[in-house]
């Protein structure tokens, strides 16, 4: 058997999915496009952000939308020191569970900070909107510390 150079090349597989958002997530994304964050009130009175279509206890359809604040606090977080290409930020950042003012549950998003040492559970953060909003979760470019000038 003659020796052969083993061939190798870059190969990209792409799936160009589109998704229908439905009336609840569609409304949430419409709100983001308008730089508002909306949740929905569940049967037990809690405000859920992002909104759910159906109540987790009664399974009833939910439609009592509530606007929540654009600041909140970090409930828990994880520092990403080496962001990958698909990550929302290309410099080190944190994934965080953020409980927005007026919400009763935390939502996940990214937090931009100069270093890991600036972050802490309970730290106050605020939304940084994307320059252009289009009705997508990335309309929130990231959260950043509310009381630190970066």
């Amino acid at each position: 058997m003659s020796p052969t150079e083993v061939l190798s090349e870059a190969f990209e597989l792409g799936f160009t999915y589109t998704r229908s958002t439905g009336p609840v997530v569609g409304r949430f994304l419409t709100g983001l496009r308008d730089r508002r964050i909306e949740g929905v009130r569940a049967s037990d009175g809690r405000v859920i952000v992002p909104p759910m279509e159906y109540d987790s206890d009664t399974a009833a359809a939910l439609d009592d939308f509530v606007e929540v604040g654009q600041q909140g606090e970090i409930v828990s977080w994880c520092w990403v020191s080496e962001p990958r290409r698909a990550h929302p930020l290309q410099q080190p950042f944190a994934w965080a569970m953020i409980k927005l003012d007026g919400a009763d549950v935390a939502m996940i998003h990214c937090v931009s900070a100069a270093s890991e040492s600036q972050l802490a559970t309970g730290a106050r953060v605020k939304v940084r909107w994307a320059e252009e909003t289009r009705g997508h979760i990335k309309d929130i470019a990231c959260f950043e510390l509310a009381e630190v000038t970066q």
Binding site: L7, S8, R27, L29
Partner: protein, 173 residues
């Protein structure tokens, strides 16, 4: 403060997966031969079956395959389908034919396009021939063969499909 716009009803959510594809030894030889304008398979030393594309082993016997066999540009239609549905990003305009083809000298089919044909007249056992790109464009790729086109030869009986030698005659056991 925002102007009235239609509510959001959908989002684009593409997924792109980046791979480094490494062909392995047997497929590398296969692709290198394609770059030289040759279609090759590998013969199993146990059962004598010739596989294309070669994977370096016989799936039936579980032993390594090393003997390289140059296959014919002629092939037989083992099965086919007429594609009517346009697929985004596909440069080929439907309706077109995708066929399982067994090249003479091999015992297994591979998938390629059939063209220069009347779609409604394509049938199992039909003889076809590879249409290669101009030599200057040959690369380590199966699409050096643009498609297969019908050949004016008698049909191969179903029971003999996959049993022809490289000369197109039935291989006597």
């Amino acid at each position: 403060m925002s102007e009235a716009r239609e509510p959001v009803t959908g989002i684009e959510a593409p997924v792109y997966l980046q791979y480094q594809f490494t062909a392995g030894r047997a497929p590398s030889r296969f692709l290198s031969a394609l770059k030289q304008g040759r279609l090759t398979g590998q013969r199993c030393p146990g059962c004598s079956q010739v596989y294309i594309p070669p994977r370096g082993a016989c799936p039936a016997c579980g032993i390594a395959t090393e003997e390289e066999v140059t296959l014919s540009n002629k092939a037989t239609v083992q099965s086919f389908t007429i594609v009517y549905i346009p697929i985004p990003g596909n440069p080929i305009k439907p309706p077109y034919i995708v066929a399982n083809l067994v090249p003479d000298g091999a015992n297994i089919s591979f998938i390629h396009l059939l063209s220069e044909c009347v779609n409604e007249e394509v049938h199992i056992g039909q003889r076809v021939q590879a249409v290669w790109k101009p030599e200057a464009e040959w690369d380590y790729k199966m699409d050096n063969i643009i498609y297969y086109k019908p050949l004016d030869e008698p049909d191969v009986p179903v029971e003999l499909i996959g049993k022809l030698g490289v000369d197109g005659r039935e291989v006597q056991p």
